[in-house]
Structure formats: C-alpha cells, structure tokens
Symmetry: C2
Subunit: 562 residues, 2 copies
Amino acid sequence: MISIDGSLDPSSLDELLAAFSGYESALMTNDLEALDRYFAPGPTTLRGDPSALLVGHDRISAFRGLRGGLPRRTITELHVRVVSPTAVLLVSVSVPVKGGSGLQTQLWQRMSRAASGSALGESTAGDWVITAAHVHGAAPALNGTIWRVVGNPLVPALPAVVAEGVLDPDGLPVTVPQPLTGMTVAVKDLYDVAGFAVGAGIPEFLAEAPVATVDAPAVAALRAAGAAVQGIAQTDEFAYSIAGRNVHYGTPPNAAVPGAIPGGSSSGPASAVALGQATIGLATDTAGSIRVPASYQGLWGIRTTHGAVSASGLWPLAPSFDTVGWLTRSAPALRAATAASLDRAPGAGFEPMPSPGGSAAASLAARFVVSADLTASCAPDVRAAFAALVADPVFAEVEQVELGSLDEVFAAFRTVQGAEAWRQDGAWIEAHPGVLAMDVAERFDIASEVTAQQESAARDVLAAARARFDEVLAGRILLLPSASSAAPALTASGEDIAVARSSTLRMTAVAGTGGYPAISAPLMTVPAPGGTAPVGLCFVGPRGTDLDLIDVAAAVAEALRS
Amino acid sequence: MISIDGSLDPSSLDELLAAFSGYESALMTNDLEALDRYFAPGPTTLRGDPSALLVGHDRISAFRGLRGGLPRRTITELHVRVVSPTAVLLVSVSVPVKGGSGLQTQLWQRMSRAASGSALGESTAGDWVITAAHVHGAAPALNGTIWRVVGNPLVPALPAVVAEGVLDPDGLPVTVPQPLTGMTVAVKDLYDVAGFAVGAGIPEFLAEAPVATVDAPAVAALRAAGAAVQGIAQTDEFAYSIAGRNVHYGTPPNAAVPGAIPGGSSSGPASAVALGQATIGLATDTAGSIRVPASYQGLWGIRTTHGAVSASGLWPLAPSFDTVGWLTRSAPALRAATAASLDRAPGAGFEPMPSPGGSAAASLAARFVVSADLTASCAPDVRAAFAALVADPVFAEVEQVELGSLDEVFAAFRTVQGAEAWRQDGAWIEAHPGVLAMDVAERFDIASEVTAQQESAARDVLAAARARFDEVLAGRILLLPSASSAAPALTASGEDIAVARSSTLRMTAVAGTGGYPAISAPLMTVPAPGGTAPVGLCFVGPRGTDLDLIDVAAAVAEALRS
C-alpha cells in the first residue's frame, strides 16, 4: 500500500522509490558499501533506533559494520510525504518473517553529486539519499542479553509489617512504611532467588544447578524493604571478567555509550538499571564488577565493606574479596538499598577500622587523598579529567599519598583471587571442557596452576599491604577513577580489552585488598565519538563507613552540580 | 544540547522552538486540545510508535484521548535539520525520570492559518505544526500486559532423543529430528509449568497457588517436540471472558487493530504470537477463547476435539467444554503444534464420529455447509464479508443447513458452563471478595445461582443438540465467522462488549456443544478506522479430524491467495 501526499515530478518519484527499494535490498543483503552510499555523507546525518541516536555518517557506518544483516521483511505500507521537490519523508511499515512489525521514517533529500560525493543512479539532478532516519523493529519478549528471566514482577516484595501497638485514627492497624516500595530489582545471576536456580552466566551450569528454596539474605533484605524482584540479570561467566561480554547470551548494551562494552561482571544489572528496566541492580564486586560497569555506563554503584552484608546464598568467585553491592541511577536509591541491606542482613560483621578521631562520619567529612602511582596506568583522557576534577574547590584538602608497591599488590591479589576461584569452579570447568569463552577459560587455566606456596606468599603480601593502606589512608577517603578508561568499543581487540582490564584491576585491587567500601559516582566524562563517555569517580573509605561514604559522595555530586 | 543544520530566519526558528517546547509541555500535562492543535489537521498526518502507525489527525487524536499523560522527561539533545524555510525536521532525545531514553523525530511544517485551521501563535506566516512524527520511549523489561514471566528461555526444550539403531556415516548416534526445534511457546497462565504456579490472570490467586512440580502434558508435548517455553502469558480472570481485558495486568495490545481489544481469554498468548514474541501460543478454548483472539488479531488458531489432548495440569473453566489448542501466525506452525500434541499427549481419547464414507480426510475434502441462522447475529460488515467469501469458487459445494434452536442451545451451554465454572472457582471467589473485575464477578454471580435442576435440564438440551448437529452436519465442515464482529474498540462501552460477547458465543457454542474441533483462519477483513480489521473464518469439523481440518483450512487459504 502506497499513499502519496504532495506532488513530485514523476521521474523524480520513480528515482526516489527505486532508491528506497535499493536501500531495502541492501539492508537484506547487508551490502555495507551500498548502505553507506544511501546515507548522506557528513557529520549531520542522523540515524536513531531504540538503542541509540547516531550522529554523523561515520558513526552510522561504524554501527552497520558491527550489526550484520537484517532478517528478511516485507514492506506493507509506504507513506510518501513530499516536502519539496528535493525533500521527501518516507514512512514505511515492515513485517519481519518472525512476526510483529517495524516502522521506518526516512527523510530523503536529493543531493548534487558534489555534495553527496557519490554516484548513485543516472539523474543529473543528483541522488536521493537519506539525511535522517528513525527506525524500530519488532520488540522481543525480553532483552536476553540483559535478562535471563523477568516477570511482572518475578517475585513480589514481602508484605508490609504491621507496626506493633500503633493504630490509625480509626483504630486500625498501621503498616511500617517500606523504604523501597515501588522499586524493582535486577538480581545478578549469582544470587539465590527462591524457586530459581543460579546460572552464573552459563546455560550449561544452569541446566545442572539446583533450584533455590530460600532467597539469599541480600535478596531477602531488599524484598523485606518493599522492593520487588523484576528479574534475574546476566553476568559474565562465573563473574570472572570486567568486560561484560557473554558468549552464551550476548553482550548487554551500554546505554550510555552506543557501540561500547557495558562493563562487567555485573553487566546485566547495570544495563537493566541504565535502561530504566529496574531501579536497583543487586550485584557483586570482587575486583571491580560493580565499579567498572557503573563507570562505563554512568551509574552509581557501591561495593560494601567486605563482610558488611552477608554473601551467603551467593555463588562465590573469591570469598576473600567478594562483596555484595548495588547499582542505581541516583545516590538516594543507592543509599536506600544499602541502608535496607546493612540493617537487615543477618550475620553482617566486619572488622571496623580505628577512626583517627571522632565518629567515622566526622572523619570522612572533608579529608580526601589521591595517589599519583595509582592513576599512572589510566588512559590520558581519564587522567586529565580526574586531575581537573580533584582540583575542584569542593575537595578542599586533597593530599597525595604513597600506597607503595601497587604492582606487587595487584599480582598478589590476582594470585589469591585465582586460587579461590579455581577451588570454587575448577571441578565444574574440568568436567565441562569447551563451555567457557576463551578469555575466561584462559584465566581459569592460569588460576589452576597457582601453588599453595604461591597463594600463601601472596596472602602475606596482601596482609602487609592492607596494614600499610590502613596506615597511609588513616581514615581518609581515597579518590581515584573507577576504571582506567571509558568503556572500550565492542570492536576493541582482545588485547586492548586485556590492557584495560589490567590497568583497571591494578586500581580496583586497593579496595579489594583493604576490604574497603568503594563507591563509583558518575562525575566525569571524557570525549568519545559523537559525544562524551562517562567515567566514574571512585570514593574508597574506611571499613564500615558505607553509608557515610555514600553521603559524602552524594554531597560532592551535589556541590559539583551547583 | 542543540545542533542546527541549515539556515532559517531567526524569528521563524524561535517560533519553531517555542512550538516544540509548547508541544512538550502539552504532552506532560496531557493537554489534549493543545496536542490536537500542534498536529496538522487532515487525513495524511502521521504518528508512529512501537505499537502502531496512526494515519490521519482523527485517529491520532482518538489515540491520545485513550492514553493519558506521559511521565515527565527531559530533552537532552535536539537536532534541528532545516529542509526548507517552511519545513524542519526536529530529532530529539528524551530521558524519562525512570531511566532509559526515548527518541522523537518530528517533521514540522509551517502552515497557513487557513490550511491548519488553527490559530496558534501570532505569526502571519502561519503556524508550525507536526505533519509526521515517529517516537519511542524507554523499553520496559517486559510487556506485563502480555506476559506474567518470560525467560531466555523460561524453560528449554527437552533434549533430542537418540534414534535407536541409527548411526551416522562416522558411526555416531543420530538424534531424532524435532518438528518444533527453534520455536518458542507462550503458555497461557492456566497450564502447569514445572517450577511455576498457575495465576489464572489473578495476582491474588497466584500468591496462594502451589508451584507445579511437573509440566502439564500439553506443555510437555511441545517441549518434547523441540519447542522452548518463552514465558507464561496473561489470560482473562479464570479464562471467563472473551474480551481480553484484565484489570490486574492491563489489556494486551491488539497487534492487528490499534486501539482495539485483543480478544480473550487467551489474550496474552495471542498478542505474544501476533507481535512475534513467540511462535506458538498454547491456549485453551471453552467457549471461544482461542477462536476469538485469533479472529480479532488475524492469527491461526485451533480448538481441538474435546478430549483429543489431555487437559490435565490445566486449571479448568468448564471441563465439559474445555479444550487445549494453539495460536500461530501460520498454518504450518499450527499443524506442527497440533501434530506434536495429538501424537504425544498421554490419555488422549475422544469419541470419534462415524464418517459418512471413506476416511475422515476424504470426507472433508470439499463438503462445506453454512447456516443462515448461525450468522444472523453477526455485524453487517462481517455478514457481508462472510457471504462474499463463501461464494468463492474454492468452496464448490456450500449447502445451507438448519442447526435448529440455537438460542436455546446457547442458553443451555451458558448454564452448564456457569455451573461447572462455579464448582471450580466459586469457593475461591467467595473467600476473596472484591478481587475480580465487575463483569467477570457478575458472570460468576449468575453462575452461582444455577440450580441442579436447571443444570440437568440444560445438559439434556445439549445432548439433544449434539445428536442433531452430528446428524445435520453429517461429517461435513461447517463454515462461519469466528466472531460476530471485528475486535471492538478499547473505548467500546461495557454494553457493546456484552453484545459482541453474546452474539459471538451463540456462534462458538456449536463447536462447544458438539465437542468438535474448530479452526480460525485469518481469511476475512472488514473496514476499520484507518484501514481494515481481520475476522477469522471458522472451520468446524467432525470430532477427531483435527489435522485433516487444518489441512483443509490451509488448502482453502492457499487457494484464496492464488
């Protein structure tokens, strides 16, 4: 069905319709060269879909290079709206073979050869090219790169508790207000959710995993506080990566940086929260698995003090470093999730740090430190953004500190983490050869070779480092970038991603080694193709100061805004 | 962030940006009058979003009247693309309060007062109005009107079975090919799926329901044939409606007729299939719950011969009439689902009809009948479309038959259905006052008053009718519209929907009374605002001829296409 509004020279209309058909064919065959020619050159060409608005021919072209061809579809409606003799809006409805429907809105403009730089068609009046497009296909039931399972809700909040001895004016019982009422949670697929098995990012593991009969305490705490479980969200395999790529379920989108990896291992919860599909991502952070996706996607995130929230009912990666934490879009939501969980998780216990004077909150108020050695391995743009930020008057008293031997600490951290990870997952991995992605498999291979002597020596290094860090930091807040770079592109080489990983882990290992709480706040940006990309500012505080640390970070964010 | 490409008179640009802001404000406050003014009048104005493309100012205006206001959002990017002094494309990115992002592409054109018929602004050059828009908001985690829970997949297919005694050329075992491999199933929330409770469209019922430990046979059959369970899809409360509206979860979209009800009670499976979110809808049909949504949404659907597929593990509505069936987008998929289930469901058994001669398939080949009395209560457009269709040469020998006393049969059917429904659900309903929607509650109220004597008398009427139908139909295929009208609008009054219900149930009760298989094939359309709406052609055949009946319907569809 074609409907035409407005008049256009018939030969010009024929050429336009031929170009429309040609573009449609090029989409089906994924003819990248033709697709590039059908889109107007230059930096102002637009292409939007539900994942992103891309600005400029180069970004659009790069996107196509990644996508692969489109499934076959049929155009069932075409509306031609003539704007001028050289500009026509084409709005078309498409029906994919697998059902549903899509919609394409394209502004076609006739451009002179010189302007378009191409040589499509024979017309001397120039070629019809697309200068702006807005498209969407049939929506899937769920985004399986983000979610393993999702419900309406998947598991409701626990009922509100009746306040003992309190009655309303009519003499009726009153329920205790729940701080997380109306919020939804994306639970990383490492936590027990009653009625579901833990998949840890691996379908073969899921297929053999037992169904949990009770919620993990971290899940129960959020439900008791009024939040509903929206679904179970994807993770990197066994959480042993910070990239956010999963060979089984695909790579979740980075909502903040189109075409970039999302960061992991809490990739699914992070993308769910960034896209507004959940309020809170319940995640874990062993060596950066919350801080990195928070940084890459412009979210708030906290890894709590080691031991402050029970890690039971959680598939461990490396228990010496594993922590419970959350990802949110705002500081108040992060604080609410943290408060609900620190309060309620049974068995919470940690070794508090001696505060140099007064309460932890008071000691945190305005004492910040940085370490030049720590940020030395950052990408130059991140180092520059960080230097500019910490020079802001809001950080009145930023001191330089020497943490000492960071490379040695990182090596020791990796050794102990590897040894524990292998003890946890090695037997399953050996029984299921060929299941894990190559990079994760290699990491476990190396981990499998850690000797008891190496592990013990590494633990000694970490114990010494922890004592040294405690002494050097002396109750102050260490500031650093949450990751060494903005999110690498999906097209980045394995080598580039490995470098980003090492540079980042060298930084994140400080909190891991000290058992410190660490917050990533979305307070920096660096230039990126077509705009900017977020980088988190990381606040590392003394053990047990989790809520105070959130308050400090929130106050800093507020001060920077005004 | 604003980027402008092309040049526009500054005052004209100011007016345009003011109009853009004004439109944005009107969206937030849901100022319908202003929204109507900002959209160009006339039949060619376009507005598309992921649910539909609406053509013409009137349809766009009607849609807005139904929607309610938009959640507050912030415009974070605005790209101004000047096409001509009187036409500008505005592409804007919006960030809703709840996260994620949306995109709006609007073609604004300056229209003279006379043309636009409005009096916005002060410019003598005319007003800027939107002549075409394409928008999408942040995608939700799942469409909760369609799905209760959905996974990637929710439950995988059963592993393929190794073919006994068969080896490949390398001497390795070979698995039996599975006919439904790669297909996904939307299971109506009445069937047991191991690990999940049945909700029957009612959250309060779900909260108290036990978790199933084994799949219902109808679910198991599809999984054994290679299909994975995509999710559990919504139903009308206790399946006791054919409208497809659910007060708890909302009304699923009708993918074929924007702004119309989806049809029920298998509303979720139908919408999931129509939108391409599942290949097969596993549903039930007691009095039309498959045929009606199939008809309203242009799908293929079958209710099987009563008893031909086990209804165990299924929350009954009225066991004397309840049947298992499926909804698909194509006849081959419908046949595959049916064949897999008839073959495998244990305990399948039905009373086959004596065939007047030869095999059932042969007897079905070309013997069609219609009943003027049966179609008398149809809407005029449906009656006309049906009369035209059955006059097609493909139905060579269509005879008129007298089924007799259809109103009496319908009344008896309703009585027995009500009595059985109340026996099934009455206790729960009495224990949970105020939970059900008013129309469903009223239906159960009436059902609760059926006396044993009334029920017994009604059963006698049905038994006599069944014998009479068997005799009159004599092994032939009865053709009728699957529903008395196209899908009523969402805005239809309760009374109009009740009339559509009665008129439809009078027709669907024939298959229910006879225990006959009935197929709805998407072979008719009637005029609808902005296009056409589908109506199903229903094929009612002798008991036990399910697969043959699909073959006949598919052959008819094929012949009509060519």
